[in-house]
Symmetry: C2
Subunit: 221 residues, 2 copies
Amino acid sequence: MDGSDLPIARLTLPEAAAERLRTLIIEGELPPGTRLNERELSERLGVSRTPLREAFRMLAGDGLLVQLPNRGAQVVALSRDDIRHAFELMAALEGLAGELAAARVTDDDLTELRVLQAEMEAAHARHDLPAYYAINRAIHDRLSVIAGNPILAHTYRTLNARLHALRFRSNLNVAKWDQAVDEHRQMIAALAARDGATLRDLLIRHLRAKQEAVLEALETD
Amino acid sequence: MDGSDLPIARLTLPEAAAERLRTLIIEGELPPGTRLNERELSERLGVSRTPLREAFRMLAGDGLLVQLPNRGAQVVALSRDDIRHAFELMAALEGLAGELAAARVTDDDLTELRVLQAEMEAAHARHDLPAYYAINRAIHDRLSVIAGNPILAHTYRTLNARLHALRFRSNLNVAKWDQAVDEHRQMIAALAARDGATLRDLLIRHLRAKQEAVLEALETD
DNA sequence: ATCTTGCATTTTGTATACAATGTGCCAAAG
DNA sequence: CTTTGGCACATTGTATACAAAATGCAAGAT
């Protein structure tokens, strides 16, 4: 069985509201720092304040919101240091994921990853940055799943969501982009060779480069 | 200033309830698998159901509770695999903390850690397991703080709380105990030498040993 | 002119009432 | 004797009313 014997996951109202809010935040509809008025938002989402507040608690747990007593919730605004810290942790998580994935990867997984890699190179060739980001994310997500550690995967996704809320896209110079694509090639090779240590190092370096690009992009805001 | 200019953190009712529940779970008062009846618990804690439900959401975010739609919350019961996964991640987090700590540790930090280490050896000498655990935890916590990455520290604490809810104490054979104390000595040495790579390896091995001890202990339940 | 002080308004915090859903038991049919 | 249907009860889900707290503005004092 694949787990479909557990109760089917119908979304409860607070969960649905949280999901909706999450995308609003990540899509940039609710930019960092925005104060969230409960009454206003509850009308906008068509739910009452009670489930909305539960949604707030969930998102606060994910680090997308901060809640100040008697002053409501606001979309988190990461400082430069926060970003540095988040990337530091992300690098370690990706490194671990790579190490574990190398030990467990199947040939089917590799085939799938190679398809994604090809798509990514195509996006790169036609300078399609949004597509590149989407595929890039899919590859890294896949890796964290192949690692076979749900707790890691969850931590990874949560942290990733927080960073995505920054919407740092659209800034990436050509040299770094070329390099990133090349690093991906090396990653697949390391994975195919089941070389966990190398893959780990590659991923950590890869993340460090990404961090630099992000911080640079914020610099020029 | 030390940050005391931010709004002083008075506990809101849901937060207080969550804190209370958290200790009840970690102390083993509410063992894994316990179903939490909202009405009953709200009376016991002296709060109404609304703030209690927000507390549930917070603890669910921390992974201490699972919430099933229309079936309420229950204390999470970790499977052997969950434990393995949690330790896998913990090892990576500790490793990162060690690496970062080695780069930032001050002489004052070292003095403090050496005091804790001495206390730990004393506890070990008099076979005081509870004290040993407490000091052990203090040392590792300290390390994650010295690392200077609050996001890492938070992730670490959260995951740690989940594992502590297992209450796996009271099982540890003498050989492993001796070894653990010795590993701690080596850790302090590596830290004093600012040797991050060595410290990282030590911590990861240390955690692996701990994991084995825990899994063994559960075996004999 | 600037800084308090107090009041009105807005916003969040909590409790409770009501609705919807799930659970378990018992009876009747196969 | 087992199984299924339905009913009563218990529990969770949601909305709303009320209480408490914070914010902004204006008027007065320094």
